[in-house]
């Protein structure tokens, strides 16, 4: 059928609507198949490349799997039912497992405190930067461009890299971590804040301008009251993220419970590894639940991505 239809598209047996439909369908089908084949080939190439470069070979995996199992088994605490609530000296009790609890709690407090303090500083930084970085509020194009780029830089460089730099500059300890997390938060929050600003209602601002208000008056009385609930909920969301960040930033010496975790993992204090990891997970989960509750009071459930 096809050769004749191609030779004479308007006459002959292949011109009925059904035939034309069939032809069109076959064409689309072929196009789709070609596309699928192309993307499939690209995908397979990427997969092969990744396997090659990361040594993800069955032999290596088979050799590694038992070691992973052993390690996970090693870090599990030895708990026995009869001694479960005995003192710190009895092997098999919870207290023996968490013998270092006072130290852990102190570090945990430091971690949460670091996260909260950096969130406050980051929120203030993001707040100061966001108005000039919103398309509709920026006083001029130059400021808009500069603030956008500064914020982009702050949030694109990972916290850990900032932390390494600050450890070098201000020494080992929580201050380096606070500075790193604050800068990253300021960049990330500034972007979210400026997106909120871009959806703001302009009528209050126009009213203030009509009454003779300056740019600062417009922002203070026209924009801030509208955006504050959203800002608050974004800051809380950032606090959840920062708790995670501050619990690992100690890996490079920037304070918090991560420093202790790095130490016990590297020195193979097996039971302490699981004790610390469980403690961190529990803290992160608690903070998530609490902050989600508070957030939903400031803003509807649906609006947060």
């Amino acid at each position: 059928m096809s050769s004749q239809t191609l030779a004479d598209p308007d006459h002959g047996p292949g011109t009925s609507p059904v035939d034309r439909f069939e032809r069109h369908r076959a064409e689309q089908h072929r196009e789709r198949q070609a596309k699928t084949a192309l993307y499939g080939a690209l995908f397979l190439a990427a997969l092969a490349g990744s396997i090659y470069i990361s040594h993800f070979y069955p032999t290596k995996l088979a050799a590694g799997a038992p070691k992973i199992g052993d390690y996970l088994y090693d870090i599990l605490p030895v708990l026995s039912a009869e001694h479960l609530f005995a003192g710190t000296k009895t092997e098999g009790s919870l207290a023996y497992w968490y013998f270092n609890m006072p130290k852990y709690l102190q570090l945990l407090l430091e971690t949460v405190n670091m996260a909260l303090f950096s969130t406050v500083i980051g929120t203030v930084g993001g707040f100061l930067m966001c108005f000039a970085a919103s398309r509709n509020l920026a006083p001029n194009g130059w400021l808009y461009f500069v603030f956008r780029r500064v914020m982009e830089f702050c949030r694109s460089v990972p916290e850990v890299i900032f932390a390494i730099l600050f450890v070098w500059a201000v020494g080992i300890g929580p201050l380096a971590g606070i500075l790193a997390i604050s800068i990253h938060s300021a960049g990330a929050l500034g972007k979210l804040f400026s997106e909120v600003n871009e959806n703001v209602d302009h009528k209050p601002m126009e009213g203030i301008r009509a009454a003779g208000g300056t740019w600062f008056d417009e922002i203070r009385f026209g924009v801030v009251p509208q955006v504050l609930p959203n800002f608050t909920s974004y800051a809380l969301l950032r606090f959840e993220i920062n708790i995670r960040a501050s619990s690992i930033i100690g890996f490079v010496g920037a304070g918090g419970i991560g420093q202790e975790l790095y130490y016990v993992i590297n020195f193979n204090f097996y039971e302490e590894v699981s004790a610390l990891v469980l403690l961190i997970v529990a803290t992160v989960t608690c903070v998530d639940l609490l902050s989600a509750r508070v957030r939903h009071r400031f803003i509807g459930k649906e609006q947060l991505a």
Partner: protein
Amino acid sequence: MSSSVATMTAGEIAALQARFPEALSTDRRRLWIHRTVAAGVVAYLGFCVWVFDITFDRLFGGLGKMWIVVRSMLIWKDMATWDYLGIFQGLAETLGMAFLGTFVASLFAVVIGFAAARNVLPNRIVHHSIRRFLDLLRGVDTLIWALVFVRAVGLGPLAGVLSIMVSDTGTLSKLYSEAVENVDRKPIEGVRSTGAGNLKIYRFGYLPQVLPVFLSTSLYWFESNTRSATILGIVGAGGIGMQLSERMKVQYWDQSCFIIVLILLTVAIIDTGSKWIRMNLIGKREL
């Protein structure tokens, strides 16, 4: 401010305040609440400054040191002697780790995602235990997993792949199971009414609905994993982070800066590329 206010007499203002107390008088209780909150915040900030020992000297002495670092970051010396092969191999490792980790995690997540969906396995105990297990995988940060896997399988990108794989299995399974729970029942009932077996119900009832969601979710997480894979090397799990932290340790700031710029570029390219794929292949979908 405006002239109309200035021309009003004090008596007129008082009369207006008496007429509209809610609009024109200050609410003393609210004022006090605001003041207390503000005082609390200031007190907390002061406490933090004290507890973290943030002194003027430390901060600005540190900034002085930072200035030296920034300056030596911007002046690139002896560029011909840099180990470009190692740097670009590290970059390739990072991308490979993110890609493979996300891919394998997606495979696991398809199975676990269906198992964790309430409409597929209605057993409450099974549902809850799978969900809590996934929470645990997710709750432990990728960097902690990386540290654990470096201990178990040694330094190198394999530890990075495994850490991304494990933490993403937690995340993706949860997101996949939510997608499965949100399917439209009608096509499934339609397929079932034709007398199809269980396998066919999943293939023609569920899969066409959830596959686009699965794909775009995985692509989105590939994007985010590229970002986290850049730093996994700091604990020895391969990738560009390993190159970066080695150079930062020996204070090759110019090379470090080059690598940071490279990371930022790569992340930007991957972001744009994956956004394009998501838009074009799967259609616009809010995550």
